[in-house]
């Protein structure tokens, strides 16, 4: 973003798939998925879960990650396509 100017507009009516409805929905789903992963980590570190709960938690989160990848590929979207730039608030998701 260049200094001093107006923020870039998001062209929601452009034909590019990155700004389509599917991208928007998947962005919200990905936000929730990543948020739940982080919350699961905190619960894990708290240390009150049984080994069975930890196993189920981990494998379910892994499955969700795989499903998200499949959904993204189905709509021809990359991980960065889902990452909204919120300007002064920074990126929505980490830029790994």
């Amino acid at each position: 973003m260049t200094g001093g100017g107006l923020p870039e507009r998001v062209a929601v009516d452009s034909p590019s798939p990155e700004r389509g409805l599917a991208g928007l929905v998947l962005t919200i789903v990905e936000l929730l998925r990543q948020l739940m992963e982080r919350q699961a980590l905190r619960r894990l570190e708290y240390g009150d879960l049984s080994d069975d709960q930890v196993e189920r938690l981990g494998s379910t989160l892994m499955m969700l990650e795989q499903q998200m990848t499949e959904l993204r590929e189905h709509f021809g979207l990359t991980a960065e396509d889902l990452n909204l730039d919120l300007g002064p608030l920074g990126p929505l998701l980490p830029r790994d």
Partner: protein, 79 residues
């Protein structure tokens, strides 16, 4: 620090460790990481909405919500 669970299932959870807890690990913090920390502390959201027509109050909505991570020592055991 608790023992890391064995097997691939534990790696998904362990992968976030450095991102979420590293002190100043990245310059720009992703919003999802901020939300994660806010939930860990707990947040109270309040709202008051009054729907009226022609200056006549018809519907009032009062909202007070506590949103936080589950902490068994604070709120009791959750299944």
């Amino acid at each position: 620090m608790t023992a890391r669970p064995a097997g691939p299932a534990g790696n998904t959870l362990a992968a976030h460790r450095s991102v979420a807890d590293g002190p100043g690990a990245t310059e720009t913090v992703a919003l999802v990481d901020l939300l994660d920390r806010v939930l860990a502390r707990g947040v109270v959201v309040t709202g008051e909405v009054t729907l009226s027509v022609a200056d006549v109050d018809l519907v009032h909505i009062s909202l007070r919500a506590l949103i936080s991570s589950v902490r068994p020592d604070l709120f009791g055991e959750q299944p």
